[in-house]
Amino acid sequence: MRQFFPVQDLARDERFVQTNMAARLADKRSAVIGSTRADGAHRKSAKSRAANNRLTPDRHDASDAARSLMHGIMVGEIQALEGAGRTAHDFPAGDGTGDTIPFELKLDMARQAWDEARHVEISAKLSDWMGTEIGQYAENTVLFEAACSDDPVLRLAGVNRALEGLAIDVFTQMKEFGQLAGDPFLEFCEDWMLADEVTHVKMGSDWLRKVTEKDPDRRAKALEFQQVVDKLFSFGGTRGDTEESPIGLARRFRELAGFTDDEVDDIAEMDAVALAERKAKVREMQEAAQV
């Protein structure tokens, strides 16, 4: 079986249309409050949202926004399944040095792939329940791209810590959404998937520590890579501690998954920087377009 699968070769049927972060960030529009023009002028449609962006049922566009996010979760689960499966297969079993990974790590990746397959099924059914067709929204392939590194330790940092960390934030947000809206299926399913994600992050945290125990340089490089991926997964501040961000940082569940308070603070800071950069970029693009 083929190893090291590039993102452009992912198997998808005709229902799916793929996009990437560069295309998303080139969008000159913004839903972010505070990205009004430099002269302080407000958009014509300023009434369309309340004082914050957090994804809660009291937003006028709550149902459609939740449907869109649910679809994003579903394609994210497909890519997480593909990523975990690749890591189980791409590297030979060994003591963790070089390009080898311990056999027990392979077993954990296989278990994760099994979990993600279940999540794909759950998410597809939830999408149907919410009135979304499979492939209705563009699939951002950024998640799988983080799973394409040649170094298994970087994959642990990028996928299990950054990607699955984002999953913790997203599932917590969606679980709360289901709770507030009184949607029993959404709340229940997100809660169960959240439990799995915490386990996946914990596996990543534990293996990263173990495999790099005697190689501090490799550990530093992996954590640096995680920061890059974390910033990417902030999606221009879509996730963050303030209510300007639709998705919050799930501090308690991140702690359970092995993140230290300092690490979560760093992610929050990075999210804030990403949000500020996105606002500035949108302002610049809109001014250039003279809107």
Binding site: V17, T19, A23, R24, D27, K28, R29, S30, A31, R43, K44, S45, K47, S48, R49, P57, D58, H60, D61, A62, S63, D64, R67, S68, D128, W129, M130, G131, T132, E133, G135, Q136, Y137, A138, A181, G182, D183, P184, M285, Q286, A289, Q290, V291
Partner: protein, 176 residues
């Protein structure tokens, strides 16, 4: 039929194509009023609203929409004709409703509560589906459940709105 702006600079929308879609829908719905479609291209959000200058067949109907409501969800920043039909069609039906005397008490669109919006959307989307516009019923059912609750009697309320063709404002304001 007027579309504002006539030329889009932030997104790949074509004003003529939007005008054609709105014109076809107006024909299907028997609406002869002059129509303005006002698109806010600065935001990808999807709020839509409709207003009518007066209760007459020659009063101007204005559909105000954020660009996300007309967008191809698979190809961001591009016009999605299917999405545009559902969004503009719903608003044209609202405008047509507003011309009726039994809608005098309906608040302006931007002052509608979330429940009033969900109920009116269900009523409009059901009628759109029956004239042949492709509408995902479950999408509107889910929104209705989010506003009224996840229960069998709420589903029955939704079914009544969805299948109705001749309601007044009071039936939408209080669908129970």
């Amino acid at each position: 039929m007027t579309v504002e702006p006539a030329v889009f600079s932030l997104i790949n929308y074509d004003a003529d194509e939007i005008a054609t879609i709105a014109g076809e829908l107006a024909g299907l719905l028997g609406i002869g009023n002059p129509i303005t479609i006002d698109v806010d291209e600065t935001t990808p959000l999807s709020k839509v609203s409709a207003s009518v200058e007066a209760r007459s067949s020659d009063a101007r109907i204005t559909v105000s929409t954020e660009s996300g409501a007309l967008e191809d969800t698979q190809r961001f920043t591009n016009l999605g004709p299917a999405q545009a039909r559902v969004s503009i069609g719903r608003m044209l039906l609202r405008a047509r409703d507003r011309i009726r005397p039994d809608f005098t008490d309906a608040p302006p669109d931007l002052d509608l509560s979330l429940r009033q919006n969900a109920a009116w959307d269900a009523y409009c989307a059901g009628r759109l589906a029956r004239i042949g516009v492709r509408v995902n019923e479950q999408r509107f059912r889910y929104n209705f459940r989010n506003r009224f609750g996840f229960a069998d009697d709420v589903d029955a309320m939704f079914d009544r709105l969805w299948s109705a063709d001749d309601l007044g404002w009071s039936a939408i304001d209080d669908p129970t």
